[in-house]
Every structure is written in C-alpha cells, then in structure tokens.
Amino acid sequence: MGRGRQRVIIYSVLLCAGFLFLWQLASAPAAGGKAQGLPGPLAVGWTAWEMGSNPFYDNGPNDKGIGLQLLFSLGRLAIGYTVAALVAILLGVVLGLSPTLYRAVNPYVQILKPISPLAWMPLFLYTIKNAGMAAVLVVFMSSLWPILANTAFGVATIKRDYLNVSAILQLSWLGRLFRVILPAAAPAIVAGLRISMGSAWVAIVAAEMLIGGTGIGYFVWNEWNNLALSSVIFAILAIGMVGVLLDFGLGRLSRIVAYAE
C-alpha cells in the first residue's frame, strides 16, 4: 500500500508540473509583441502572492481583498444553508414518518428539485427588493431539495425494530426525534448536507455575479471587467480550494455519524 500511495503522489505531481509547463508555453508572449493570450502560471503566481499577502484590506466598494470577498460569500452561504438545513431536516422527518404525506408531496419536490436556484432570482429581487437577501435565498433554494429528499428517504427507511423499541420505551416526541430518528437517519441526512453544500457553493458564486456589490462571485466579475485575468484565475482557484475545505468538513461529519448495522 505504501508503494501504491507513493506512485499516486508522483503521478499527481508530474501531472501538475506538466500542466503548468504547457500553460506557461501556451501563454508565452509572441516575439516582440505584448501578451495577448491568458496570463501564464508565473503571472498568476505573482498575483496570488500579492493578493494572498494582504487578503483582508478594504479600500471601498470596488477594491477589497480576496479573503474579505470570500468571507462575504461564506457569510451568505452560512445563513442560507443553515436555514435550509433546519427547514429541510424538519420537513424531511415529517414526510419520512408519514408515507401518505410523502407520496402527496413528492411530485412537487420532483418538479422543484431540477430548477436552477438562479431562476428564482428575479422573483426574489422583485418581492424582497434586497440583493443580498436574494443571494441568501438562492443559497437556500439550492440547499433545500437535496437535504429534504435525503432526510425523508433516510427517515422512511429506518428499520422498524428501532421504532418498535422507542415505542415500547414510550420515549417522548423529542426523545424519539433526537435519540432514535435523527441518529438512525443521520448518514442519509449528512449525505444530503454534503450534496447541497456543493450546489450551494456553486450557486452563490453565480448569484453574486448577478447582484454585484460584494462576494467572491462579484470579485470574479469585477476583475473580468478590469481585464485582470490573472486575478480571475487566482479567484477561480480560491473558489475551488474553499469548496474542497467545505466538503472535507462534511466528510468528517459523515464519518462521525456513520454506523454499521
């Protein structure tokens, strides 16, 4: 296993080096001319160094550090995602416990689920007239369905035995919820949390491009307007890194709640 792992690392590093080399070649300025293509890895690296060394500065509306912009995005994500998780888990438990309700509601969930959360944007802007809140609602809409569907499924498929035991022990409604239903369905619920965290992070970047003002999505769009492509590329990398970190955290959580039958 040690050797297999070593190989994986070697291949990974080689792939990265090869990619950077080709990228640098492709973006090399034509002889005598000014650079017309994409900025190369060295230019992006330089930008990364500059932006990374002072990530939290704030010089007014159109000039904020990338770290600060990421924090704006993460703040919206946190609010929309947390509210969505609470609503979806509660609703999912109710649907999961009642096969009749589940079947009555399921067609609507199936219709609402494939709608891009951004499609709701005009309605949100029109009704609440607050761009920041609209972006939070986009996060909410993108997180809601996967958590709801997974929770309802997880609760509906809890083994009869566990519910029998909690019925014999005459646990209170809350006791049943927190000691039996949620732990039993937790692996499915966390799987839903993980999926929706991914789609919420995708959605918030796009939403911020539309609403402008603050956030990493707006930052990307603003740098594009400035034709600062190396900043755009660095921001793309930063978005990916944050996404990986968020997923890593939820991956940890899924290991904690996992159980074998």
């Binding site: 029998n164 035991v165 019925a167 014999i168 006791g175 039993a184 709640v257 159980y259 039958e261």
Partner: protein
Amino acid sequence: MAFLEIDHVTKHFPNPDGKGELCVFREVAFGIERGEFLTMVGHSGCGKSTLLNIIAGLETSSQGGVVLEGREIRGPGMDRMVVFQNFSLMPWMTAFENIRLAVRAAYPAWSRQQVREYVQRYVDMVGLTGAERKRPTALSGGMRQRVGLARAFATEPKVLLLDEPFAQIDALTRGVIQEELMRMWTASRNTVFMVTHDVDEAILLSDRIALMTNGPDARLAEILEVKIPRPRSRGTIIDEPEYGRLRSHIIHFLVERSRLIQAEAIAKGD
C-alpha cells in the same frame, strides 16, 4: 382472572395474493400467573411471534384481547419489555448507551449518577464488563443478547416477552446465556412469556409449556406443566425422568399431532 390473560385472541392477515384474509391462529386463550415462566412452542408459521407482538402492543389482534392486571392492553408500554430475536439494539449507541436509553425511560426522575450506577450494575450482572463501551456490531451474538437481556431486566417490567431470544446465538454460548437468564429470573421473579422452537430450552426454563398446532389457522392444543424442581441446571436436568417424558411428549406433538389436531379442528369447522 390471571395476572396476564390472553382472552380468545384471533389474528388475520391479508392474503399475500391480495384476496381475502388468512387466519394465522384462532381463539387462543390462556392465562399467566404473576411470577410464572410460560413458554409457547410450535412450528414456524403458527403465529407465536405474532401473539407475542400482540401482547407487546406492537401488533393488534383481529378479535379478542390481552388483559394485564385487569386492564386491557392498548399499545406498547414499559410494563411489557421485549427481548428480540434479532436483538434490536441501536447500532449507533454503545452497549452501555443502549441499556441507559431504557433505564432513563423507566426512571425519568433519577439523576445521571444514579442512572449510571444502575446501568453499570446490570452491565456487570450479564457479564458485559469491559465491553460496555463497544457498539453492538463489535460484539458477538451472545454478547448482543446479553445487552438485550440487561436492557429488558433493568427496566423491571411487569411482563418480560422473550421472542426466540437465543435462536441466533451459537449452541455453546446459548447454554451459558440460558443459565444466566435463569439466574436473573430467579432473582427478579418476573412474569415471562417466551416463544421458542427449542424443546430443551423450553423445558429447562419454563413452569408451563403451551403447544400450538400448525398454522395457518393454528390453535392452542394443550398446556403442559413442567414438574421439575428448581433450581435446575442443564447438567442435571437431563437425568430427571420427567425431563425425558416431557421431551418425547412435545417432540411427538411437533412431529405428528400438531398437524393432525389442526386438520381435525378444521374438519369439524371449529
């Protein structure tokens, strides 16, 4: 009226093909006295586990009812704890936590400290000491059912319902746990209704043994008294003349008579 009265209980299930109903057992009536250990023996499909679930309140009877201490049973409750064939332990909890869940439910007024000491006492009683922080999946079948027994005994129910509790445990361990169960029952003198396939287990543990005819449409055929003095042990009980007599009576019943009596009863339109 007995402490636990099974009052002419009949159970129908919807037919698997969706047409009409199937009678599992009909007009089963008997009583269990306080502190008595009664075991029901019968072939698979005679509905003995269904009857146990009806007593537990997890299923409902089609006709007739169950009366405990003069009150009719209307659903599951802590006065009737079940030890399940498949253990039914919460897999996300440790052995200790599984027992604690039941103890907390049974004694809501106790402090954390009281609950912990009490749970530990039952952990030690069933020989789980050292394994109580493990989850059920990390335990053998025998150890899991020890958790199940501790969980049931710890709540001090009025009636203990044992649903083929040792069927999924290997033969050598089974004997050991049967003796542990006997010891715990002797100390607590619970009223017990057990269901089993195992004739030797039934004779070893019971005061009386109820024999069911074959299903579907099963009946209660007879109830035998086990006149072997207690304390009993697996080693000495086989030398009792009564043991051999009961054993051959029950096995004859299971091999031939359970089928004949059922056929007769159906022919009579009873």
